[in-house]
């Protein structure tokens, strides 16, 4: 049983909001109705000016902080940053953490029933983009009575949503918190995603995305996709420190079984992920990453896009993150300074690679907290 500390938001319960207003999507399709699952932490103040939207990355969901039950082994994905006395201080802020459309944790996604056919959407679920997510998040804000976010925050793909918010609804947020993110994927990033998708789609159990109808799951493909992804989230140093060339058993067997500890670890990661995550959602999330490119509307000129931005930015990166390296964050910083926008940028020492934004680190927590403390809200 877990020990819920005073710095935790404690036990939390997801809520569901149903939307009947059709959502027009970037891909050209329309989602006539949908559900959004979300969690909230803290209390919305009378002026509704203390709300912080937290956006999740590829594999996380609405469960960002606290615990669903006392038996939970782990808290929400950003618990190190959300709670009383933490950077996103729930004594001050009202946090809204939704599960994105297309996900598999409750919000409408490929696993949901298509009202037109009464069977699961599967591969017919429309392609999602970061722009679409920001649109539904804006509708959610409306329903919750939030006219303007004090801040929109996220790491990785979540940071992209914060960035998109500042561009898409410049008057509706005061601060954008963009951590371990990038202004668009590099060719290498897209290549990794493409390989991950190939692994899933080439699994014989994939059935062209209709595996729900066949009562199968392309779990082998999903495992390989996750193993590949996981390698890119860790740094060479972190893997070296953790496993080195350590063997699973005492000696080499000279066969194709699991011989090194790192192989065993990756398989475990792949299996645990495949047991909880939906393959179609993984495909969709990686595509949303690939499509993200807010500079496109200005012919690739990000600083031109930032000219209309009003939010102040806080950006952070981590030294050993090679998936979204510090240089990628600096591209955003550079475009913001060119556009004469307010921005602070920090680069933290960490050997945790891309996952560092989810790992306790005093410098990171202290700086994030210092920034958030200066955000003014009414009492």
């Amino acid at each position: 049983m877990i020990n819920i500390t005073t710095q935790s938001v404690g036990l939390v319960e997801p809520k569901t909001m149903h939307f009947d207003e059709a959502l027009s999507l970037v891909c050209g399709k329309v989602l006539e109705q949908y559900d959004i699952v979300y969690e909230t932490y803290g209390t919305l103040n009378a002026k509704a000016d203390n709300a912080v939207l937290v956006c999740h990355a590829l594999s996380a969901d609405h469960h960002a902080a606290g615990y669903h039950s006392k038996e939970d082994a782990k808290p929400g994905w950003w618990d190190i940053c959300i709670g009383p006395g933490k950077p996103i201080d729930t004594d001050k802020f009202f946090v809204v953490s939704p599960c994105n459309l297309g996900h598999c944790s409750g919000s409408t996604g490929p696993r949901s029933l298509n009202p037109d056919t009464s069977i699961a959407y599967g591969k017919d679920f429309p392609m999602m983009t970061v722009v679409d997510w920001v649109n539904y998040q804006q509708r959610l804000a409306d329903k919750l009575g939030i006219k303007q976010w004090a801040a929109v925050a996220g790491g990785s793909l979540g940071g992209m949503q914060a960035l998109q918010w500042a561009i898409q609804f410049p008057d509706k947020l005061h601060h954008a918190i963009v951590i371990a993110s990038a202004p668009k994927l590099s060719a290498q990033n897209i290549a990794f995603n493409a390989v991950a998708r190939q692994a899933i789609m080439n699994d014989p159990d994939f059935h062209d995305g209709r595996y729900y109808d066949f009562d199968t799951v392309p779990s082998n493909g999903l495992k390989v996709a996750r193993m590949l992804g996981h390698i890119t989230y860790l740094s060479d140093d972190a893997m070296g420190d953790k496993f080195g060339r350590e063997l699973k058993n005492e000696q080499l067997n000279y066969d194709y079984g699991v011989e090194f500890q790192v192989e065993s670890y990756l398989r475990y990661q792949g299996e645990s992920f495949a047991s909880r995550f939906d393959a179609n959602t993984y495909l969709l999330m990686t595509k949303a990453l690939d499509y993200f490119d807010p500079a496109e509307e200005e012919g690739g000129d990000l600083s031109a896009v930032f000219k209309k931005v009003k939010a102040k930015f806080f950006l952070a990166s981590f030294t050993t993150d090679w998936r979204f390296s510090p240089e990628r964050s600096k591209e955003i910083v550079s475009a913001l300074t060119d556009a004469n926008r307010d921005v602070s940028y920090l680069e933290f020492e960490s050997n945790h690679g891309h996952d560092a934004f989810l790992v306790e680190n005093d410098d990171y927590i202290d700086a994030f907290k210092a920034y958030m403390q200066n955000i003014e809200v009414s009492t």
Binding site: K330, S334, V343, Y345, D363, A367, Q373
Partner: protein
């Protein structure tokens, strides 16, 4: 201006209100905070030290954590009214390259450094035969961050060689007060040197 460190006060006198400023090696952000509050400037501090960066965040100034020796490639040409660098020139790996970068990025650049030509330094070296250690330069030769110390004459020669235009000069003591001796023999009596350089296209 009473609360501001004396060495920063003179710089503030040089800055036009409402300017866009880049403060390189901004330390705990004291100068930028003062300029924001009292001169309505906008801009950014650049600093590498984690504790200093944290102080800047607490002061609510825009801070960009990066290594000055890596260049100012994140900043566009002529994108600031002033680029300021106080007491950091002597600690850079390539001060010449950073100065070039400052002139590229800013319309005006302000640089301050301790004058190593000060008579006390000369006397210390000539009488003791050892590298000068003083209140202003307290570190030993082996652990000092000041790896490129220069004199007033060195700096002015350098500017002349590189066709950099000095538009303002201030030679002061550690409390940033000028004196007649410093005016007559700046290289011998100046403790701190302040310079404003113009962007290159204005050079004659």
């Amino acid at each position: 201006m009473s609360e501001l460190r004396p060495e920063l006060q003179k710089i503030c006198e040089w800055i036009e209100p409402g300017s866009r400023v880049l403060d390189l090696g901004c330390g705990d952000g004291e100068l930028l905070e003062w300029l924001q509050k009292n001169r309505q400037v906008t801009g950014y501090g650049v600093e590498i030290n984690q504790q200093n960066v944290l102080s800047c965040l607490k002061k609510n100034i825009n801070i960009i954590q990066t290594d000055l020796d890596a260049g100012l490639t994140d900043f566009a040409d002529a994108s600031f009214d002033y680029v300021i660098m106080t007491q950091a020139l002597q600690a850079l790996h390539r001060p010449d390259k950073t100065l070039d970068e400052m002139l590229r990025v800013g319309h005006k650049s302000i640089v301050t450094f301790p004058n190593f030509g000060l008579w006390k330094c000369r006397l210390y070296l000539s009488l003791k035969g050892r590298m000068p250690v003083s209140k202003a330069l307290p570190a030993q030769w082996y652990d000092t961050k000041n790896i490129h110390l220069c004199t007033v004459n060195d700096f002015e020669n350098f500017c002349a060689q590189r066709s950099m235009t000095i538009s303002k000069r201030g030679i002061v003591d550690y409390n940033h007060r000028p004196s007649a001796l410093m005016k007559l023999w700046p290289n011998l009596f100046g403790e701190v040197a302040l310079y404003q350089l113009d962007e290159k296209k204005n050079a004659i």
